[in-house]
C-alpha cells in the first residue's frame, strides 16, 4: 500500500488544494473516473488530485492513471488479509491503520467518493478532509449523501432506463466540472492496420452473447472484408470461452486471419493493440472504455442489465446497439433463463455495421435505411454518441424511431440540468408516435399528483416552522404535521406504480429526504421544505416540457384538436 512518484503527471507550477478521489470499484469505473478527472485537469491544472483505489484494479491500469493523477494510494486487500485466519483482527487493523495514516498525512481539501460501494463509504468516513462529497457513514452508522449529484447518482444509476447521463458526465457533475464544450479530435485511421479487435465477453453471462452468435459475426466480417483480420481479446478466465469461438468449424477457412490474444496481454499491451486497430467491437466492458481512450472507434452491443446511456464508451461517434426487448435493461438481481434480449439483436446488423465502419468509418440514418432490412431493425435501437454542452448524448440512427424512454430521457436531461446545475439544455422536440403520445399524457396525470403532494409537503413543513416559532409551541401539533409529511412521502412513492416513467423523480426525492441538512428540528424542516419546493419545480418543468412537446407534435402533424385528457 505505497505510492511512488515515478512516472506521474508533471505537476503544475503552483498547486493549490488537494482533491482526493475514492474509486474502489472495477477497471471500467476506474477508466471512467480517469476520463472525468482529465476534464478537471483541463480546467483546473492548479489542483493536486490523488486517487484512492484497490490495488487489484488500479495497478494494471497504472499506465493510464499515472497520467491523470498526482499520486495513487493503493488499497491492497490481499496484503491486508494475509494470514488473517491465524493472525486475526489485530494484524489486519494494523495494516488498515498504516494505510489511513498515510492518507491522513495528506492535507485533503475535498474528498470525493465516486464508487458508491459500502466499503468506499466507510473508507470515506475515516479519511480526514475539509469537505466530503459522495456517500459516507456517520457515527450513527447512517449513510450520508449531502451533494445533489451524488444523491442523483445513488437514486438513478442502475435503476430503470431513464437516466439520461453517462457515468463520466455524472462524475464530472459530482466533481463540479461545468464544461460546455468538449475537445473532439479527428482520428486518422489511415495509418492503422485493418484489424477489428473483438471482446466477445462480459462480467456476467446476461451481458454477453453466446459463442455461436459471435462466430457468425466473425465469419461474416472475415468473408466480407478480405484484407481484414480479427483479434479476439479477453482475460485469462475467458480463454476457454475464446476457444469455443476460434475452434468452431465455421471459422476454419479463416483461421489464419484470426488472432486469439485472450489471456495473453496485459492491459497496457491490450491498449497498444487497440491503438493500432481500426475498430473495436464488444459488449459493455472495460475494453470498450480502453478503446475510447485510444481513440479507436467502438461498436458496443448492450445486453442484459447494461444501460447504454450510462456506460457506452465515452467518446464522440461511439456506436451502440441495444435490444428493444420490453424487459431491457433488467436488474442484476432479476432471474432470466431465456435471455430474449440476446435474440433481439440480429448478428447480421452487427456484421453489416462492422463492414460499413471499416469501409466508410461512419454509420448514418440514411445508410441504416438502405442497407439494413426493416425485419432486422425492428427489434433494435441503434445509437451514435456526440457531445452537446460538454455532455455526451446518444442519437438514434433509426429514422422515425424514438421510443418512450428516449423521450423521457431527453425531458429529464433538460429538467435535471436546470434544477440541479442551473444550466439550460436546448434540445429539439422529439417526434411522437401514438404510443409515446399516450405515455406522455399518462405522465401528466402523475406529475399533477406529485406536484400537489409536494405543495402539501411545503404547507406542512411551513406549519411546523410556524409552530416552533410560536410563543408556546405544541409538541403534539408538530408531531401531527410530521406525520402528515410522512404520509405525503408514502403517497408520492405510490405514484410510481401508476406512472412508472416518473420513477426518477420519486427515487431522487426519496434520497434527498433521507439526507436532509441540519442538526436541529428547524434546520431539518427548512431542508424538508426546500426539498418539496424543488420537487414542485421539477414537476412543473417536466409538465410544461411535455405540454410543449405534445403541442409541437400536433402542429407538425397538422392536428388542431385540443387535448382531451383529465388534466386539460
Amino acid at each position: 500500500m505505497k505510492a511512488s512518484n515515478s512516472g506521474y503527471r508533471a505537476q503544475a507550477e503552483t498547486q493549490s488544494a488537494t482533491l482526493a478521489i475514492i474509486q474502489l470499484t472495477r477497471f471500467g469505473d476506474l477508466i471512467q473516473t480517469s476520463q472525468a478527472v482529465e476534464e478537471l485537469r483541463r480546467f483546473h491544472p492548479e489542483y493536486r488530485v490523488v486517487l484512492i483505489a484497490r490495488s487489484q484494479f488500479a495497478k494494471p491500469l497504472e499506465f493510464i492513471l499515472k497520467k491523470t493523477f498526482d499520486k495513487i494510494y493503493y488499497l491492497d486487500t490481499s496484503k491486508l488479509f494475509v494470514n488473517s485466519e491465524i493472525g486475526g483482527f489485530k494484524n489486519t487493523a494494523e495494516g488498515l491503520n498504516r494505510f489511513l495514516g498515510e492518507l491522513n498525512s495528506e492535507s485533503i481539501e475535498v474528498l470525493i467518493n465516486l464508487s458508491f460501494s459500502k466499503s468506499s463509504s466507510y473508507l470515506s468516513s475515516l479519511i480526514k478532509s475539509v469537505h466530503k462529497i459522495g456517500p459516507f457513514f456517520d457515527f450513527n452508522n447512517k449513510m450520508q449523501i449531502n451533494d445533489k449529484w451524488s444523491q442523483f447518482l445513488f437514486a438513478t444509476v442502475m435503476r430503470g432506463p431513464l437516466n439520461p447521463f453517462a457515468l463520466v458526465d455524472l462524475f464530472k457533475n459530482i466533481i463540479g466540472i461545468k464544461s460546455t464544450e468538449q475537445i473532439v479530435t479527428q482520428v486518422n485511421l489511415k495509418n492503422r492496420s485493418n484489424t477489428v479487435v473483438i471482446h466477445p465477453f462480459a462480467s456476467q453471462e446476461r451481458k454477453a452473447w453466446k459463442a455461436e452468435k459471435w462466430v457468425e459475426v466473425i465469419y461474416r466480417t472475415l468473408k466480407e472484408n478480405e484484407s481484414c483480420t480479427v483479434q479476439i481479446v479477453g482475460a485469462r478466465n475467458e480463454i476457454l470461452k475464446s476457444q469455443m469461438i476460434t475452434e468452431n468449424p465455421l471459422l476454419k477457412t479463416y483461421s489464419s486471419r484470426i488472432q486469439n490474444l485472450t489471456g495473453k496481454t496485459s492491459l497496457e499491451e491490450l491498449s497498444a493493440e487497440l491503438k493500432k486497430a481500426k475498430l473495436f467491437v464488444g459488449h459493455d466492458s472495460m475494453v470498450g472504455h480502453l478503446a475510447a481512450l485510444t481513440k479507436t472507434p467502438t461498436l458496443t452491443v448492450s445486453l442484459g442489465s447494461v444501460r447504454p446511456q450510462e456506460t457506452t464508451p465515452y467518446h464522440a461517434n461511439a456506436y451502440n446497439l441495444s435490444p428493444r426487448t420490453k424487459c431491457f435493461p433488467c436488474f442484476p438481481s432479476d432471474t432470466c433463463s431465456f435471455n430474449q434480449c440476446h435474440h433481439d439483436i440480429p448478428y447480421q446488423v452487427v456484421s453489416a455495421a462492422i463492414k460499413q465502419l471499416l469501409d466508410k468509418h461512419e454509420i448514418t440514418v440514411e445508410w441504416m435505411k438502405t442497407a439494413i432490412s426493416s425485419f432486422h431493425i425492428s427489434s433494435v435501437n441503434f445509437y451514435r454518441t456526440r457531445f452537446h454542452n460538454g455532455h455526451i448524448t446518444l442519437d438514434s440512427l433509426i429514422e422515425n424511431h424514438v421510443d418512450s424512454p428516449d423521450i423521457f430521457r431527453t425531458l429529464y436531461k433538460i429538467a435535471w440540468s436546470f434544477v440541479i446545475n442551473d444550466t439550460e439544455e436546448n434540445l429539439p422536440f422529439p417526434k411522437l408516435t401514438p404510443v409515446t403520445h399516450r405515455d406522455l399524457l399518462d405522465a401528466l396525470t402523475g406529475l399533477q399528483h406529485l406536484y400537489e403532494l409536494s405543495e402539501f409537503g411545503k404547507k406542512y413543513s411551513r406549519y411546523i416552522l410556524e409552530e416552533i416559532s410560536s410563543e408556546t409551541p405544541s409538541i403534539n401539533k408538530i408531531k401531527e404535521y410530521s406525520k402528515k409529511i410522512d404520509e405525503i412521502d408514502q403517497l408520492q412513492a405510490m405514484v410510481q406504480k401508476t406512472s412508472p416513467n416518473l420513477a426518477p423523480i420519486i427515487d431522487y426525492f426519496a434520497v434527498r429526504k433521507a439526507n436532509l441538512y441540519g442538526d436541529n428540528v428547524v434546520k431539518l424542516t427548512e431542508s424538508s421544505y426546500y426539498s418539496f419546493e424543488e420537487c414542485s419545480t421539477l414537476c412543473t418543468i417536466i409538465f410544461e416540457l411535455i405540454e410543449n412537446t405534445i403541442s409541437e407534435h400536433k402542429l407538425s402533424s397538422g392536428k388542431t384538436s385540443s387535448r382531451n385528457d383529465a388534466n386539460k
Binding site: 486475526g88 489485530k90 489511513l100 459500502k118 466499503s119
Partner: protein, 48 residues
C-alpha cells in the same frame, strides 16, 4: 478455524449492542465495519 472471522463476529455483536442502545459509534468501530465489508467484497470478487 478463521480467527479474523471470530474476531469480527465478536466485535460486530458489540457494535450492534451499541447501536441498539443509541450510543454513537467511534472511529475504531467504523474501521471494524470497513474491514468486514472489504473482506466480504473480496470473497464476492474471488467468486466472479
Amino acid at each position: 478455524m478463521d480467527i479474523l472471522k471470530d474476531d469480527l463476529d465478536r466485535e460486530f455483536l458489540r457494535i450492534k449492542e451499541k447501536l441498539e442502545k443509541g450510543t454513537a459509534l467511534n472511529e475504531e468501530d467504523l474501521k471494524i465495519i470497513l474491514i468486514s465489508t472489504l473482506h466480504e467484497e473480496d470473497l464476492h470478487e474471488s467468486k466472479q
